[in-house]
Every structure is written in structure tokens, then in C-alpha cells.
Symmetry: C2
Subunit: 334 residues, 2 copies
């Protein structure tokens, strides 16, 4: 199995990306990785890696890269030599079964649609983010691929998300919920209402609406929303954690008692942190495109990169794309 | 000044509502309160209150009440004897200058529009929620009055919110931001884009887009969004706090060291809690209607109720409705 990795995407490229690729190769004996980026730079990162692994790490040169602040569609269309674009072309041509990038999210989505291509019948892809919650890992889909979704898009997110949770996360009958502004059926707007009726009609394990407050409790295995809401929520969560940390530091200052208390609590807080750590998940699948396209956080370090590659590996191994294609088309759900 | 208080709304009605009204009367010598609810029940709550205060607490009988799970518009239209409806009619007839309720949010919004009435030129009201943030108190508008907003609605939320922050919160030049899925101008959808151009054109102190992660840091004095997104965010925040608390309790279990640590940290955590405590704000103004309509949290206890009444008092005293009407109409902004 060959996974193309965008070696130039993200805040810690290429060093941590290459390090992550090495870890992933070590963990999965059946895995080969194409490191796409400036060859001399990438080659440098691989110095000292054992020969056995090197054989499975292929260097694919890319002259260019897409920056975090570039206009995604323009960059994907015009920068034909960008590492992300080349990695995605390898998926399109079936040379690689999937690709991983820590780069510009918009460019990953645009490349997924324009370069890799969509699964027939899927109008818009959805980014599914596994979130740590109190009772289980709950996937939020979409967190930013499709800013404003139509009912059909939300319905397809539900279908693809439940396939992902069932086959990749191993949840038997994933509980699906639709994010709304209240639990009662009168809540929501026309888009959400139509999506609800479509999901209801598809004989899925549908729980109806959930509210924002239900997400941290893990009320469902899959929470469906449009990309705008999902993106705002995800970033809010990130910001909230950072703000609480900054506040704790500020309040703690030089006060002895709280500091002592913190020392006693540290092991517990570290455990808690692990439960909320995105590095553990490492990857957000772009569902609805013709390959395992996995986005990792821009700040990912080696462990997170290796985990994102593992997600791509599992997605290919468990035939994620084929499952979506078959279930949707043969099940007559599209 | 007379404020009508819905004595039957919320989880702790009528006891905590009446207690809160007594506190508010004690704090504001110029305040009179109409307690609207089942008279015998309300009268019972006032036993033992000093005669001087009792003179300023008027009992207005209401045979009926609107429950938390009732359909808002139907309830407001049909339940002519409901405490909330009677309180709002007192505002409509100018008998009272404002009203406060801890009841059904949808019914408060519906009553604001259908009973109290909108300020001429305002198409949809907005619920503005003051949020604790790292650097300042930042108001999020709308948190649920207008599920899907048009650009004009978002623009009016910005105008009304900045008047509120300036005159009620005393912020000189409130910084306004529009919530989007990224900071770059290419983000957002057509609605957000049009709203941005309208706000830009109005010579406000406009900072452009903010993302979800900026909210906890208090990047702006006012963050404008539609009621769906605001509602999801607000409830997520509430749920997140509750989930972290539950998790801490669970992890702590019977482990001695973390428990000792907690004891040392308690004073600091209490201080932190105060910063994030909604009881301190107590009230969410429904901006755009012809009176000081203040919604308080359904779980409010006496302190929060008293604070919500204070918010109504300040709004009336500082002529909130008149300011919105004048600035909007005379400024030619509508």
C-alpha cells in the first residue's frame, strides 16, 4: 500500500512530517510512503534512517508548496508543482491509495474535489473530526469542507460518517444525530428539517436533534452539521482550551498554595489531557472523495503525523472508499 | 420605574424569582416591580419582607404560565392569561418600562415581537449574551432569537449591539467583529459577506472576521453571528463546562493526591469560576423590541434574577430603546 505524504505542509514541515512517516513505516510493515516535497530537503531529514525502512520511503520531488494563507482554489488550480497537488494527483492516478497533509485545509478540500475527484453521486465532501467526549469518541461532520450545506449534503454526511464510524472505528450501530438549536422537532430551519426527514427515511440509527451542550457528553457516535457551524465549534473548542490554560497560568502567578496543589494534581491533569489530545487521533478524513484523503492539524508533530498516516492506512485497508461507493449506490440511497 | 417580572418562569419559580425581586428593590430605590403570577403563590413568597419594600412590589395575577417545552408562538398567541404574556402586555401598554423572565426563550422572543412589538425598522430582534473572555466581557449576538439571519439582520445586530456595549457596558468605541470560518476575507458565505460590506459601510469600529478560537480570548467587544450558530456555541460552552466537571470528579475518584491538590487550588478555582459565572451577568437583552426585555437563564437563582432586573433597570435608565431608535433612524442607517 502506498500513501503519498505532503512533506511541505504544516507548521513543522518538513522535519516532523518526515519523522512521522518513518514512525508510520516502522508501525506498518505493509506500508510504503511517497514523501512529496523538495527532494534535497526531504532527503536531509532521512539521514540515519535504517536501510530497511528507507526502501519503503520514496522521494517524489515537488518544486513548489501551498502556503497556509493562500486562496485554496486558486493555489490548487495554478500551482501544478505544489507538493499537495502532486500528492493528490498520485491518488487520482491510483499510483497511491491515499494522501496525508498538514497543510492549508481549504486547499486539501479543493484538491480533494478538483484533483482526486468525488465519489460518483456525492455532491460535496465532508471533513469528519473525531472528538473526545465523555462517553465515547464522537465524530463531528462537517468541520469545514462545505460551508453552507444543503439537506442532501447533510444527508450524505450522515451516510458517509456512519460508514466511517462502523468500519474504521468499529462501532456496531453508530448513533447518528443532527445538530440543531434545540431538541424539539420544531427547532432548526428548513435545511435541517429536510435533512432530518431524509435521514429518518434511510433506516439509519437516527436519534434526532442534539444541541451544542450534548456534544461534550458524547450523546451520539456521529453529529452532523454544516461546515460553518462545525468549523466555528471546533475552533472555539481549541481556543477555549488555550484561554483556560492562559488564565490558569495568570491566576496561579506566584501563589504558593495553588502551585503546590497543581503539582499534586499533575498526573491526573496529564491523563485528562491525553483524553482531549488531538495528536491521538491525528487525522480528519475528507469523506466523499475517491481515495483516503486525510487532513492533519497544521501544528502536528511526528506522533500526530504518524497517527494521520495510520488513519489513511486503515481507511485503505478497510476499503473506506469502496464501502461508501457500494453502500450508497447499491443501497439505492443516492 | 416599573419592571414587570414573570414570577412563574424558570426552574426555580416562583420562590427564587420573588427573592431576586426583593433583592433588586433593595438595591435600586427608584425601582418598582410588578410580580406577575398566581397571586396566592407569589404573596406567600413575600411573607416577612419589610413594609417599605412591599410598597414597591406589586402583585399582578396571572392564571396561567408557559412551560419550558411549549411551542413558543402558539403559547404566546393562545395563552392570554400566561404570566409572561401579561408581563409583556404591560410593556406594550407602557405601564411597565421593561420585563424580565427566566422562562421559555422562544416564548420570550415570540412575545417580544408579537406582544411588545419591534422598534420601527428592525426586522428581527437579537439576543445579546455577555460572555466572559480573557481580556474583557464580549457580547455574542444573536444567541437564538433569529435562527437564520439575513445580511440586514446581522447588520442590525451589529448596530444594536454596539449601542448596548457603549451605553450599558460603558465601552467607548466597541470593537465589532463578524463570526466566520476563517479570518481571511474570502471566508464566509454570501450572507456573511454581504453583512460584512454593510457593517464596513456604516463607519463602525469594525475589525472584520473572527474565528471560533478568538471568542474565549475576547478579541472583540461584540461578536455578531446568526442565532443558530450563537445558540450552538453558547450551549456547547455550557455543556463543555459540565462535562469537564463530571470528568474531573470521575478521575479524582478516591485518589488522595489529586484531592489534596484540589483543596489547595480551591480558592483559585473559585475565583476563576466567578469570572465564568453567568449569574454575575444575569441577563440577556432581547435587542430590537420596544422595551427592556431581559431573558435570564432558566436555572437562575435569586442573585441571577436580581442581576437580570438590574440589567433591565440600567437599560431603561440609560434609555436603551430610545438610543437604538434614534441612532438607527436619525443616523439614516435603516
Amino acid at each position: 500500500m502506498l500513501i503519498a505524504v505532503d512533506a511541505m505542509g504544516g507548521d513543522n514541515a518538513p522535519h516532523e512530517i518526515c519523522k512521522g512517516a518513518v514512525i508510520a513505516c516502522r508501525n506498518h510493515p505493509d506500508l510504503e510512503i511517497a514523501l512529496v516535497g523538495k527532494e534535497p530537503l526531504v532527503r536531509e531529514q532521512l539521514e540515519g534512517v535504517e536501510a530497511g525502512l528507507l526502501k519503503r520511503l520514496h522521494l517524489v520531488h515537488a518544486e513548489d508548496a501551498i502556503a497556509m494563507d493562500e486562496s485554496p482554489v486558486v493555489a490548487i488550480r495554478k500551482k501544478k508543482d505544489a507538493s499537495l497537488r502532486i500528492a493528490m494527483e498520485m491518488v487520482h492516478s491510483r499510483e497511491a491509495q491515499g494522501c496525508v497533509s498538514c497543510g492549508n485545509t481549504g486547499a486539501i478540500v479543493a484538491g480533494g474535489v478538483l484533483v482526486v475527484g468525488r465519489i460518483p453521486g456525492i455532491e460535496r465532501p465532508g471533513l469528519g473530526m473525531p472528538l473526545p467526549a465523555l462517553n465515547r469518541t464522537s465524530m463531528l461532520i462537517d468541520v469545514g469542507a462545505t460551508v453552507r450545506a444543503k439537506p442532501e449534503n447533510l444527508f450524505q454526511f450522515a451516510l458517509m460518517g456512519q460508514i466511517y464510524m462502523r468500519h474504521i472505528f468499529g462501532v456496531k450501530e453508530p448513533e447518528i444525530a443532527l445538530l440543531s438549536n434545540g431538541e424539539e422537532e420544531i427547532k432548526g430551519d428548513e435545511v435541517i428539517l429536510s435533512a432530518r426527514e431524509m435521514i429518518k427515511g434511510a433506516k439509519l440509527n437516527f436519534k434526532g436533534y442534539v444541541e451544542g451542550k450534548d456534544i461534550p457528553f458524547g450523546t451520539a457516535d456521529l453529529v452532523v452539521c454544516d461546515g460553518f457551524t462545525g468549523n466555528v465549534l471546533l475552533k472555539f473548542m481549541e481556543g477555549f482550551g488555550e484561554a483556560v490554560y492562559a488564565l490558569l497560568k495568570e491566576e496561579m502567578g506566584n501563589r504558593l498554595l495553588p502551585k503546590m496543589g497543581m503539582v499534586f494534581m499533575l498526573p491526573m491533569i496529564k491523563e485528562l489531557w491525553t483524553r482531549f489530545d488531538y495528536e491521538r487521533y491525528g487525522g480528519t478524513p475528507l469523506l466523499g472523495v475517491n481515495g483516503a484523503v486525510i487532513k492533519a492539524h497544521g501544528r502536528s508533530r511526528a506522533t500526530a503525523v504518524a497517527n494521520a498516516i495510520r488513519v489513511a492506512h486503515d481507511f485503505v485497508e478497510k476499503k473506506g472508499v469502496e464501502l461508501i461507493r457500494e453502500e450508497l449506490l447499491e443501497g439505492g440511497k443516492l
